[in-house]
Symmetry: C2
Subunit: 276 residues, 2 copies
């Protein structure tokens, strides 16, 4: 169990660093996302290693970098209907990972391909949405839209911690994440609703109903992001909550909520723009 | 070993059916691709079964259908930079497959997720390119562009068979596909070059150099598509070359070359359009 002060400190420092990097824009986000992708994949590969599952590390690193680069919204729009650069990179990655096993066969080749493909989709593919959201629809409004999942996740984290600490009785998902309580989840949802309502009402972008719908979506997504990462760790029999960097905790542990909350915001935003 | 006449007949009938469906357009291609996706996934799941690897079948079917539908070029263009409907479906699929394991945990949950994700990318994701190529850039020229991989793969298949049959000496990839020879591969490449050169020169769309580059690409892609499918079968310890439909051979065996040749054509086409 982490102590209150260390848990608070990690949340506040993480929030401050991410806010600063996002505020600066793509030329700070690009190296940061490349770094987080590589570190996240490193932790993933380390977990696979413990289970004797092998992947092609160099190819994984190259395609991860290509996916992050392809997510930059400054590229000339792909001229084809229904396509995108990220999609092209993913297609080439799947074909390449299969072909390299044909050319230089190793042990359990399909296992290597499937765990590589999943690693690419779980880490750099989802991280790419951070760049896409930051510039949707432009650098100015994108900053406001990015503030939503960031503040909502931060508020949910803090709100869930305090509510769970003082009122927590019933366990939420005892098998996957023993520390979470139902009361904490409700407190987190309330805290994120308050901050989303304040931000979207002040800037006049959403009605209170839209703010409520979005709060439920983002609080759910960040909880499920957190639980999904716990699931991966549990499935790969890593019980300690990520100490790949001594004293700093794992990168995946720090970003798991945002890995789901940012894409969810991006899709919510564009579906709501469509319906207007 | 298949006999000459049955092998010829399969190639010719397959070529005729695919040509007719593609010529008619999306309303024939959509049900055909949904059918091939479901049959391909069925064969894939059957191979996984034999290896005691479980996947969520219903979810896989639903997301496969969604990927094919999202590949229809008639959808209003996604309004966001760098995004596409296919990409959104893939993101939702990855998140959903993880979340369902959190909510209803089963045995070896991560294994289920990674083999599901790969199945989606290998079959419906690649098949989606059939629709996208057919309408790139429009229904008329898209038909011509689709004729290229179809004719090239057909010519390569026939050319490789005859050259290999009469002149074949050296094995190409004895471990993966014992029937293939180096001479056959060269004959296939020559045959597809002749037909691509004829088609693109007559319609005036490409120079002979572009036709040569494309022939090398498409002949390589279709060979590698074929070998990749052999690799998957071998990795899943299925040695018989697909008899899921008695007397008809497996669907994956019939489409493996095109699964790589069509996306390769699509990407070649758009990269060459970009460079103009």
């Amino acid at each position: 169990m982490e102590s209150l002060s260390s848990r608070m400190l990690t949340s506040v420092v993480g929030f401050a660093i991410i806010s600063a990097v996002v505020w600066i824009g793509w030329w700070a986000m690009l190296p940061a996302l490349l770094f987080v992708s590589v570190m996240g994949l490193y932790e993933y590969i380390r977990m696979l290693d413990r289970n004797d599952i092998d992947v092609r590390r160099v190819s994984l690193g190259v395609f991860a970098a290509a996916l992050i680069l392809a997510s930059l919204p400054m590229w000339p729009q792909a001229p084809w209907p229904g396509g995108s650069w990220r999609e092209a990179v993913m297609t080439v990655a799947v074909a390449y990972l299969l072909v390299i096993e044909v050319i230089r066969p190793g042990e359990r080749p399909l296992e290597r391909v499937v765990y590589s493909v999943f690693g690419l989709l779980y880490i750099p593919w989802l991280l790419g949405y951070f760049l896409m959201l930051r510039y949707s629809p432009d650098a100015e409004r994108g900053l406001l839209y990015f503030a939503l999942p960031l503040l909502a996740t931060f508020a949910a984290d803090i709100g869930a911690y305090f509510t769970g600490h003082f009122f927590g009785r019933r366990k939420l998902a005892p098998e996957v994440s023993p520390g979470k309580t139902v009361e904490g989840a409700v407190g987190g949802l309330l805290a994120s609703f308050v901050i989303v309502l304040a931000l979207t009402t002040l800037t006049g972008i959403w009605s209170p109903l839209e703010a409520l719908l979005y709060s439920i979506l983002v609080a759910t997504a960040s909880q499920l992001g957190d639980l999904s990462e716990s699931l991966i760790k549990r499935a790969l029999r890593t019980k300690d909550s990520g100490n790949s960097l001594p004293g700093h905790g794992g990168f995946l542990d720090r970003i798991d909520s945002l890995l789901f909350a940012v894409p969810a915001t991006y899709l919510f935003l564009h579906i709501s723009l469509f319906s207007q």
